[in-house]
């Protein structure tokens, strides 16, 4: 394989990783604070794509503002979902809270997927991209819309990481992630932090969907595969670990990018692309369930 082909695969891997990381970061923040895996994360991502489509194509908002609109819309939706469905888990209002949280978010994903199917129809939509044209580095050609999406994703990740480190809300999120009881004793409103975490987590998935929607297509099932990737990434890095989510995304992006060129038959190689990550997920859960950076938990 030539150097050009290798760097092309690596760059594709990096671009994909940036979007995966943004989605997975949202999942990691939600898990860290609320101790639940949001099985509807892919549908938040998909709704972000549709929010961008409605803002840009239907209402004529400029693309950059369209991304912001999608983020805000999903933050509101995430907050609502937390308030209506997730908060009862921590208030002892449901029996078997673990099972309830898994099943309710899974049912929510089915609800949102079919809602999008009913409202927007099953056919794909292609909103205007953030940036047209292409970028050439020597012989290497990268399409501009992908690069712009990845660049925005990296920017957003940086903002979130800085916010987690330096703002009051960010510190509260980290405190609750580390120790719920202790955070509460120190006067943090755990309920409010939960609301913020779920809202921000949903917004990050929505932003990822809004960024990549115009690159590929916006369709009702578009979130299924990225959500599974996000689960793999957070398990790879350790559920709830934020650096773990980013490193997990980098690993998965490269594994997928290079594993694809290992099988000579191209149609089968493409078909199996999504299976590699799943295999990684199963192996990690079986061998090291706490992930690379996670702390061991007895039951979750």
């Amino acid at each position: 394989m030539s150097l050009l082909a290798i760097s092309e695969q690596a760059i594709n891997g990096l671009i994909v990783s940036a979007i995966y990381a943004l989605t997975a970061l949202g999942l990691a923040i939600i898990f860290g604070v609320l101790r639940i895996v949001n099985f509807a994360h892919g549908e938040f991502y998909m709704l972000g794509g549709y929010a961008y489509y409605v803002a840009v194509t239907t209402l004529g908002v400029p693309p950059v503002l369209g991304v912001a609109t999608a983020g805000c819309a999903l933050m509101v939706l995430g907050g609502l979902v937390e308030w209506l469905l997730i908060r009862p888990v921590h208030q002892g209002k449901v029996d078997r809270p673990d099972e309830y949280a898994i099943m309710v978010t899974f049912a929510l994903s089915i609800l949102l997927l079919n809602l999008a199917n009913s409202v927007f129809g099953p056919w794909p939509q292609r909103p205007q991209p953030l940036f047209r044209g292409r970028v050439e580095i020597g012989e290497l050609v990268i399409s501009g819309d992908r690069l712009a999406a990845a660049g925005m994703a990296v920017l957003l990740i940086t903002v979130v990481l800085l916010a987690l480190r330096f703002t009051w809300a960010g510190k509260a999120v980290r405190a609750v992630s580390q120790n719920r009881q202790a955070a509460e004793i120190y006067g943090i409103s755990v309920a409010r932090v939960g609301l913020i975490a779920f809202g921000v987590g949903a917004a990050l998935a929505g932003l990822a969907g809004a960024l990549i929607g115009p690159v590929f297509n916006v369709t009702p099932p578009m979130g299924v595969v990225p959500a599974i990737k996000a689960y793999i990434i957070v398990v790879l890095g350790g559920l709830g670990s934020i650096p773990g989510a980013i490193i997990g995304a980098l690993i998965l992006g490269q594994v997928e990018s290079f594993a694809t060129i290992l099988i000579p038959d191209p149609s089968r190689a493409l078909a199996y692309k999504d299976a590699y990550g799943l295999l990684v997920l199963v192996l990690i859960l079986l061998v090291r369930p706490q992930g690379l950076f996670g702390t061991r938990e007895r039951r979750a």
Partner: protein
């Protein structure tokens, strides 16, 4: 569970009689077909509730296990010239064995981690069957032999009813036996059960095996009834549908889950004019049930009726 409850026995007998009598009341072929598919979902939903409701082990691989049973049966007929019943049996056996293996592999996993592993397993299976189109015809779907050569809709209806009823009796016997107590002890407090001498490892894997074998049987029957199977029957969307059926019916009881399956499949056909909105409504009802009535429609109904009888009797 009260063991000698005449009301409960009477209700079950009445239900069975109603299903036996329904086609005689001049039901059209279309509705007989719909109910037959309803029995397929009833068996799937009941097998899922056996695992989730009684043992407390979450699995999102039920639709995949059904597909596995169907594909093994269909392919063994094509490649080994097995008779249809032999193919079905092989499908059930393999689904059971793979279920046992999955149960063993995931012994240490709980809750969301278990859910994720079963999703990964289900998706790997679906992707493999789609990708190996040389063997399975991929997403175009695989044509397969009829279960009853030259059988009428009515033949299939009674066969599916009989098999579903038989499987429900098997599940009920299992739940009522010592094994059923082991299951429930694992659900309530795994460590406590282990300390009292319950072989937690064995029974967790065994529950997975049983649940998968029933799903495999359902899938095999379905494949040879419709005579066409496609990987879409293993999708997570289909799994969501099974979950909605069991939750709406009541997933802590195999009979209620089965009734949820028949009910939702019938409604799905009756409300055809609403298109995709039906699934939106079902998912919404499932969410509301989980939140406010975890015993499901039939569980809540049964509790209300028992209360009413106590008041009047």
């Amino acid at each position: 569970m009260t063991q000698r409850d005449p009301w409960k026995a009477a209700t079950v007998a009445l239900l069975l009689l109603a299903f036996i009598g329904l086609p005689l009341l001049g039901l059209t072929e279309y509705w007989i077909y719909t109910l037959t598919i309803g029995f397929y979902y009833a068996l799937l939903a009941a097998s899922w509730s056996l695992l989730v409701g009684y043992v407390g082990r979450i699995s999102f691989a039920q639709a995949a296990m059904s597909g596995l049973g169907g594909y093994v049966s269909a392919l063994s007929i094509v490649y080994f010239n097995l008779p249809v019943v032999g193919g079905l049996a092989l499908g059930v056996l393999l689904a059971g064995i793979i279920g046992f293996a999955l149960g063993l592999l995931t012994l240490r996993l709980h809750g969301a981690y278990l859910g994720l592993t079963t999703i990964a397993f289900a998706e790997i299976l679906r992707i493999t069957i789609t990708a190996e189109h040389g063997v399975t015809q991929g997403s175009r779907g695989l044509r397969t032999a009829a279960l009853i050569p030259g059988g009428t809709r009515l033949d299939y209806y009674y066969l599916f009813l009989a098999v579903t009823a038989f499987c429900l009796v098997l599940m009920w016997l299992l739940i009522r036996s010592r094994i059923g107590l082991f299951f429930q002890s694992i659900r309530e407090d795994e460590d406590g059960a282990a300390s009292l001498g319950v072989n937690v490892t064995l029974w967790k894997a065994f529950a997975f095996a049983c649940s998968s074998a029933f799903a495999g049987l359902a899938g095999g029957l379905y494949a040879h009834f419709v005579q066409l199977i496609a990987p879409s029957m293993m999708s997570l969307q289909e799994m969501g549908f099974i979950l909605a059926m069991a939750v709406i019916g009541g997933f802590h009881n195999v009979l209620y889950a089965a009734l949820g399956g028949v009910l939702l499949q019938t409604l799905l056909e009756a409300l055809r004019e609403f298109g995709q909105w039906r699934l939106v409504i079902f998912a919404l009802v499932a969410i509301l049930m989980l939140r406010f009535a975890p015993n499901g429609l039939f569980g809540t109904l049964a509790a209300a009726m028992a209360k009413g009888r106590k008041r009047h009797g």
